[in-house]
């Protein structure tokens, strides 16, 4: 017993080194997941973010069928990179609404004409107010909202081609 206790400080030291080493090796920043999953959308009524698209109200997302709500911006490069994947989702029949963060309608229009336009409604959130109310911490992010307006799923960062089936499944699950 005494013998074992003699080793305890060394064991503790090794434990501390392990904790510090794992802290050093793991990436320094991590995704902040929204805590709003399973909760209803916050109330909002955003003006149109691009010519030819209506603005976005939270009640327009609670129409009985699931939607994707894409948080994007014309100045965000990963948002351009996920455009083909959004088109693929739109072609699969998923309604996609969007919120443009800190953006001007003319910039959004040129972004859409360059990278493709999978959106129905686009709301303009000039000071990230709605984004913060949803617990979203950057662009791009994509939320799955069910037919009752409850947030069901959050995808952080750009949608890669391999993410499309999982998002389609999340939309189907929200039906």
């Amino acid at each position: 017993m005494k013998r074992l206790i003699l080793w305890a400080p060394l064991a503790l030291f090794i434990l501390f080194v392990a904790v510090f080493a794992s802290g050093l090796i793991s990436p320094s920043s991590h995704d902040i997941r929204s805590q709003m999953i399973g909760k209803p959308l916050p109330a909002f009524d955003l003006p149109s973010g691009a010519p030819g698209h209506p603005g976005l109200k939270q009640s327009a997302l609670a129409t009985g069928e699931p939607h994707l709500l894409n948080i994007f911006a014309s100045w965000c490069i990963p948002c351009a990179a996920e455009a083909p994947q959004l088109k693929q989702l739109a072609d699969a029949g998923v309604p996609i609404d969007a919120i443009a963060i800190r953006d001007r309608p003319e910039d959004v229009a040129s972004f859409l004409s360059r990278w493709g336009d999978p959106y129905r409604a686009i709301g303009s959130d000039v000071d990230s107010r709605v984004q913060m109310a949803m617990g979203s911490s950057g662009v791009p992010e994509t939320f799955v909202v069910d037919g009752k307006g409850i947030i069901r799923h959050q995808h952080i960062g750009q949608i890669m081609p391999e993410d499309v089936p999982a998002l389609l499944a999340a939309v189907r699950a929200a039906r």
């Binding site: 902040i32 913060m132 950057g138």
Partner: protein, 140 residues
């Protein structure tokens, strides 16, 4: 020959490593960098901002960060303080959305009690160990 190639290669690398995350063209939100007219409210807002984490450059507070989102969060704090909300209400609103990681001031709950409890427990353990020592020295 190799060295002659190095410089253009470095130049190309630098050109390619342009920042991926761009900023928007919009000006900062109204209250992001403007103090509130009431100094007492401004002091409250500033104190709260220093204990809220910037979601973009994690590790900085929103008071320190130049990120646009931090500016929008400062505007949110000032707007809500000006509307009469208490700093703790605003913190709770953010924690409800982003989780307790957004706040630098941990609240006491089932997960965080060791922060306060562990020092006391360790002190008690230390006293208990020392007590053994004193007993032995008395006998000796």
């Amino acid at each position: 020959m190799r060295r002659a190639l190095l410089l253009p290669c470095l130049g190309a690398l630098l050109a390619l490593s342009a920042p991926v995350l761009a900023d928007s063209l919009m000006p900062a939100a109204e209250l992001a960098d403007t103090q509130l007219p009431d100094p007492k409210q401004e002091a409250e807002a500033k104190a709260l901002m220093e204990t809220l984490r910037c979601l973009v450059c994690q590790g900085q507070s929103i008071a320190d960060s130049n990120a646009e989102m931090a500016g929008d969060m400062r505007a949110l704090v000032r707007r809500r303080i000006a509307a009469g909300e208490s700093p703790e209400q605003i913190r709770a609103w953010l924690v409800q959305r982003y989780g307790s990681w957004v706040s630098y001031e941990p609240t006491l709950n089932r997960m965080t009690w060791p922060l306060w409890g562990l020092p006391i427990i360790l002190l008690l353990v230390g006293l208990w160990l020392a007590r053994g020592r004193f007993k032995r020295s008395k006998r000796g």
